[in-house]
């Protein structure tokens, strides 16, 4: 089955990974700006990164028949550095008109510091001031996830201009998904071998909660991650007997609905699954 992966850090992956993703059914991916595993440290480094996301990566993806879109931001791991934020955020608007830029992301919190919250709110404001671009939000890892998600949702609730349908709160897990869903935001489930959600748990959440406004992604990056993890999710759904029309809703229709809020997003026509 063909699928869309809304969260891939292809800058950290090899060209072989593009090929394997294409072979596993990936037709479209979106790449949010993120932490490289080290601090870039300067606005110039971010400028080069934004160039790569808007020029080099879409060309690399296209060689394998994959559409590449991107999101720009100062990532949460470096967002505590307010001087860096002051230098990087003014760079972003000059890239927003590029053809593969969908919105602002991934923004959010890491250790849930006062500075991180300030940088997060500035980037939410940046998105809203640009016709309320879609926003992709990173929620913190492991023991910080619940706390960070609560603080993010409180911050969004205090922003009267926010339109929940244009916001994806990513890396949701069992204890945060209901909090996100009840406020009308999109929720992303991240399929990781260790630190986030397994394909089995993702399917559990679909079963227990709802497929409404839920996306699944590999969030593949420089750490332990599987670029074709969405294919494993599809297999797990089928293993339990879920119909292809439900699977397609989650891995194709839902991302098209969320990403399609950007006029730049043009989804290819999917090949129908063999059983439909």
């Amino acid at each position: 089955m063909e699928y869309i992966d809304h969260h891939c850090h292809m800058t950290s992956r090899t060209t072989d990974d593009y090929e394997q993703m294409a072979l596993s059914g990936c037709r479209v991916l979106t790449e949010p700006a993120f932490w490289a595993g080290y601090d870039r440290g300067s606005a110039q480094a971010f400028g080069a990164y934004f160039e790569a996301l808007t020029d080099f990566e879409p060309k690399r993806a296209a060689k394998y028949g994959i559409q590449h879109y991107t999101w720009l931001s100062l990532n949460p791991k470096e967002a505590d550095d307010r001087a860096l934020a002051a230098a990087v955020l003014p760079l972003i608007p000059q890239y927003l008109d590029r053809p593969n830029v969908l919105g602002i992301g991934e923004i959010g919190l890491n250790r849930v510091t006062r500075n991180e919250v300030a940088t997060f709110e500035e980037q939410v404001d940046l998105a809203i001031r640009h016709d309320h671009l879609p926003i992709m939000i990173h929620t913190p890892h492991l023991e910080d996830k619940l706390k960070g998600t609560r603080v993010i949702l409180d911050s969004l609730a205090s922003e009267r201009r926010i339109r929940p349908e244009r916001v994806l709160v990513d890396h949701a897990e069992e204890h945060t998904l209901p909090l996100i869903a009840e406020q009308g935001y999109w929720a992303g489930l991240t399929l990781y071998p260790q630190t986030k959600v397994s394909p089995q748990r993702a399917v559990d959440m679909i079963e227990v909660f709802s497929p409404e406004r839920i996306l699944v992604a590999s969030a593949c990056d420089w750490g332990p991650s599987v670029p074709w993890a969405v294919a494993h999710f599809i297999r797990e759904m089928r293993r339990r007997g879920h119909p292809d029309r439900l699977i397609q809703r989650i891995v194709w229709d839902n991302p098209c609905q969320f990403l399609g809020q950007s006029s730049k997003f043009q989804a290819p026509v999917p090949a129908l699954p063999a059983s439909v």
């Binding site: 913190p140 023991e143 559990d204």
Partner: protein, 102 residues
């Protein structure tokens, strides 16, 4: 909320399909705890991560229905919402450490 019936497979089908892989996982946990006891130095018996780990194992035995996952997630989560005034580190530990825990 009652989630009965949300998984399309029967219990028998779940056992047939998933028992072996989860047998492997529980043996991995048993081996890890044995390895922990066999360690060359017993210097982390009260480590906050291991305390949370043992609480989580207890929750598996004493919760029921669909509440095990929620219980374990909450045991491994920082329950506070106050902001840190300064960045202390980049990474998470996997369990919540109170100020008085080693």
């Amino acid at each position: 909320m009652d989630h009965t019936g949300t998984c399309p497979l029967s219990q028998r089908q779940l056992v047939e399909e998933y028992f072996i892989e989860h047998r492997t996982k529980i043996l991995d946990i048993a081996a890890f705890l044995d390895r922990f006891d066999r360690a060359s130095q017993h210097d982390a018996e009260d480590d906050f991560r291991m305390l949370a780990f043992r609480k989580a194992l207890d929750a598996l035995l004493h919760q029921s229905g669909a509440s095990r996952m929620q219980a374990v997630q909450m045991l491994l989560s920082d329950p506070r919402t106050d902001l840190l005034e300064a960045l202390d580190r980049k990474s998470a530990f996997g369990a919540y450490k109170t100020d008085d825990e080693p």
